[in-house]
Symmetry: C2
Subunit: 341 residues, 2 copies
Amino acid sequence: MSNPNPAPTLRDVAEAAGVHTATASRALNPKTRQQISAETARRVMRAAQALGYQPNSAARSLKTSRSSTVGLVIPDLTNPLFPPIVRGVESVLESDGYNVWIVNTDNDDERERAQIESLRSRQVEGLIVATARLEHPLLRRLHQQGVTMVLINRQVEDLSIPAVTGDDATGVAAAVDHLVRLGHTRIAHLSGPLTTSTGRVRAQAFRHAVRDHGLPDDLVIECARWSEEDGATAMRELLAGEAQFTAIMAGNDLIALGCYDVFAERGISCPDDVSVIGFNDMPFLDKLRPPLTTVAVPHHELGAEAARMLLDCIDQPARPARSLLLPVTLVVRGSTAAPRS
Amino acid sequence: MSNPNPAPTLRDVAEAAGVHTATASRALNPKTRQQISAETARRVMRAAQALGYQPNSAARSLKTSRSSTVGLVIPDLTNPLFPPIVRGVESVLESDGYNVWIVNTDNDDERERAQIESLRSRQVEGLIVATARLEHPLLRRLHQQGVTMVLINRQVEDLSIPAVTGDDATGVAAAVDHLVRLGHTRIAHLSGPLTTSTGRVRAQAFRHAVRDHGLPDDLVIECARWSEEDGATAMRELLAGEAQFTAIMAGNDLIALGCYDVFAERGISCPDDVSVIGFNDMPFLDKLRPPLTTVAVPHHELGAEAARMLLDCIDQPARPARSLLLPVTLVVRGSTAAPRS
DNA sequence: TTGTATGCGTTATCAG
DNA sequence: CTGATAACGCATACAA
């Protein structure tokens, strides 16, 4: 901020209270306040109040080599899936005295590197990372360097880094069951990028689920990104192919919305001609035309659990990595129905 | 982060390169690099690279009393209106060497106070604030204390603080014109909270616009918050009243969605029975049933302009406050049609 | 209970 | 061009 009146320092407070800086420091810190007389403490605190004193956290963090800050690395804040995660993380960490620094990588490797570097230079005490890919040299390197870190929503290949995710496999199985029960026998999957754990796990779960029902598992198309646009592209590709199908399991809600776009474009009616299921249950899906059947992931909970796990990791650095899987639930709406024929 | 191998300091780099810390510092800082020989600079930079040196920004900021950080204060990140603003802000500030610290106030005064306090203790060089209310003692006090600050989306009462907002009045006028041209003569307004400038400006613009068309301006109900739930409450209240109406100008898209909820509840058909217009053009409105007619606000631009304005304010602290109004555009979709009768 | 002294890692100001 | 030195604001070990 600017400085017509430069910010008061601890020294100003101490002078105003007629004590030494060390005493003032102790008076202002709840953990050391007991060491000094109640009377002095009161005087110091009053002086601090009067001057509008704000401790300089750079100085504090330099001295204590603690920042009371953790970094939260998000691929794209405009994807409605992430804000609830942010809130969940904040709800736990802030009540524990931490501040959360959110950075947006825009799904760009170089930005991610720069942002994480910036967080590290600010001595964050840990990282919650939502940008993991199965192969992720940067995260692997940081982890080896001993950076305290918890993954959220997505994992790396070998589960060597602690992570909190939704139980995608069960969610996909429930979705496929629902379609099969409606009578569908030709189900396609428009998967997310198979470079991400969510993409791969959901695609594998899809194959297993349809096979378990004795159905063909070859109708899988991979989207390059988790976006409406790429969902539409995949949908067009599916339509261009020979294969018949009456239902689509989309890798996530955005991909499902891409399907909606193509339906509108081609005059396909959902759910009359084709049923669709999304994944995540992002906001406002109940108001779509038709309302989208999807798998609800408890994103706020995911964030809160990741934050708790990070706190544990900070407290016990030697703690072995674990993966926490949170239950998901199928939400049936209007985009699924029995096949026409 | 944890420290199996404590982070290398400038001193480590200097030793590895066989120079003094001061020299190493100059070599690593692009602005002072010219002061030293190319050969030495190269040696230092190589050493830094090899050690994985990250400057400790707490130490730097303590010494320089600059943080290269600005704070961004958001009322609620899960409102889809804000992520694009965040991106716009980041796009400008990050290319200018600043980092952006986003905080969420949850529309809670106490949280806002605590969050801003925390930002200040981190010596942020300026604030971009999206939580303004017309009466806002906290912001007013900060401004008087000389805190560099730009408001976004909303203003305070007397425009004494620089601000970037959408041209709400023109947007509302265009929306009302559209309804009148369709033949509506009884138009209601479900306004946002009149404690916010957006709520009040839109409500005033609504009254002016309908009066300009010779229509009654008394059908205005205020929502307590900018939410779907409060929109629904206001809609029920409107229906419970005596007044006839065939169209609704909602204070924003969320309030309009609340109307949709009540329509579903009461079997009212939109746009056959009632037309609705929202405000903001948040994502996915085109996929609602029916697609929502709304006023598009260029949120990314708003963020970018606010960031530019903040940079100007940081450079020239004496600069008088100005308000920048960005143009908005009516987006006609399926929620508006000619009245039935 | 309070005061004194020191150093966190960096950069700015001097000398050389 | 480079090195020595001091200081940013705070917290803490130690002394009183």
